[in-house]
Amino acid sequence: MVRVNRPPVDTPPDVTPKDPLGIHYRDREKSITLESLTEQIERQREARRRERPDGYSVTSQAETEVHTETELLTMNIGPHHPATHGVLRLLTTLEGEVVKSAAPLIGYVHTGIEKNCEDKSYWKVIPLIERMDYVSYYFNALGYCMSVEKLLDEEVPERAQWLRVIHLEMCRIHSHMVWLGTSALDLGAISMFWYCFRERDNILDLFEMSSGQRMHTRFIQIGGVADDIPLGFADKLRAWVKQMPGRVDQFADLLDKNEIFLQRMKNIGAVSEERLLELGVTGPLLRATGNPWDLRKAAPYSSYDKFDFKIPVGTVGDNYDRYKVRLMEIYESCKIIEQALDGLPEGPWITDNRKVALPPRHELATSMEALIHHFKLVTEGIRVPEGEVYVPIESPRGELGCFVRSDGSSKPARVHMREPSFVNLQSLSDMVNDTYLADMIATLAMLDPILGGIDR
């Protein structure tokens, strides 16, 4: 570490030490050594002074004061780091082990999905948009399909709505399982990861049964769902949904009765409800503060008003509440699935509007009209009337809004997602300032960001 001394000059250049946190992050991230920031600032000024046009040169032996009052360590956590749940980069400034500032830098998995959507006909957008938030793909697809249905003014058959609800809630549990496993791993409870992924795999088996795919199933279509559930699916799902609450009890036993876990979670990273609302934070993070805002209740869609379920809320909004709210949501999701299985209405699973949905296969052999519809839908796609809509739904991470603008052609003019991960992430620095480094990792885990959704 080189200590550079300031020369005794009559007219000192701008050498008043600034607050290191006031420096722009692009300058702060240049720190690749362990020097304190004050020293780096001094060194940069020194270098500038050497280049003064008046030819004044500096002797490094000159006796001056050295600023040692602030020793901060700037550290890049990520984009490649085991705890950032994807390629998130956190520019953190540490004082010892305490986080003084944390700035999330994103964009490492930007794939241009929104722009690509404009190049595809409406029904080809679905598989693309499912890959945004790759843990809650059913929700992405539903948000988009509901927007297009609204533009088309298309009624979705009731059975399709209930099938959607079943799969959405399964996907919610799936998402929470991934969250719980990876979060516990971040806290050092390694076994939890495998327990959660075992449950997740059971859900993926069910997805595979109903749609043929484990992830990115493309099950939800414009106007309904891709196919009816196969024979035996309901029984298998019922068996799974019966044992799931017991499994969650086991997880809660392992974590909630562990003093280390409680000490790591309670009273960490709490942010007030007002501040979260200012930042636009939704989902479990907001509900952990006691605000029961859930779009399934607040603005029911897809027959959610026909189910009996509760919205779990927390009290103070710390990490423990966030954890508990998500865990309780799993129980509620199980209840919804059971009710949906019990009362699943008979009927078509996709709209019979031939301008929107493909005709059944057998009709193609007998009906000329069906063949024409099939040909038009496959080659050109759905023509959607002009207009723009915004449809919000409740994803596992909060309000997932889909904005679609149509110019009357068969391709959307603009598709935009209001990703809850993206909005929620901006509350991170409010949560982690002046906590320990390990708490920041725990808080980030409880934030549950999915980088595929953030960058899109």
Binding site: A83, L185, A189
Partner: protein, 343 residues
Amino acid sequence: MSHSVALQLATVGFEVSVWAQVIVSFLIFFVVFNMIPMVLLVERKVLGRFQGRYGPNRVGPFGMFQPLVDIAKLASKEDFIPRNASKMIFIIAPVISLFTAIATIAILPFGNTVEDGLFGANYTLYGIDVSIGVLYAFAFGAIAFYGLMLGGWASGSKYSFLGAMRSAAQLISYELAAGLSLVGVIMMSGTLSMTEIVNKQDGTWFIIPQFVGFLVFLVAAFAETNRAPFDLVEADAELVAGYQTEYGGIRFAAFMLAEYMNMIVLSGIGVTMFLGGWHGPGPDWLGPIWVLVKIFILLLFFMWIRATLPRLRYDQLMSFGWKILIPLATINLMVTAVLVVYA
């Protein structure tokens, strides 16, 4: 006589045969060193079972050769030194860690002195019986942290640096607690010699009168070996791999070997001080086997805890060490002192 001069430190009542003692020393090193791949494999197998999976089962029968191929892989990797590392210290650090870990094996007693044993030789079933006993282990344990600290500091990486800082803090807090927890045993047996302590446990093992001491020692041992839930030094979620972030290849292997060696050695000290060393049912020649079995039981406990508990936070680790363990060990020490004097 001339050939017993080298073994002045050994307080045995007879003249040992140097050739036999050399063979025994090599044998002890061989056995303990070869326990490491076994422990590595067993840990991965046991962890796998805890987590509902199989663990390694591809290389050889039951995945038995997995540690061998792991080490072969690490040995064949590029010898990489980061650009802004202090090269000399970066190279020396794993050597320090490994050296101190191996040096401590010398005082682990696997059995008593054997007079007129195999081939009519006199020998002792331990390396040396130093008069400072367990202090020897703690001295080397303290030096071992230089390996971690220098390694972390010399890497020139911030993760390593933070890991090294944590290891320094952990050393100060938990060496004290571990030391204090053993003083009770030392007072009860009235000697520092490891073999004498084991001999004193002929009737009751010290785990019964010194149960609190055993608990404190066990917790401190977790911290000393950087094992979960005290694995902050290499907390993968926060510090990637802590002090060993920049290490790769055979240097990384050296750190890993040192870590597992330390686990074995600390389990060995626990066995010696609390669990009756070589005492156990059966004939006398079973003694070394009993020591190994007890060490393995403690190691399994290490693995069980790793599969179950989350990690503590840095400040929680500190306050746990200073506010709970050290007072507990001190109270245990004082109660033992009173009992030893008046009972």
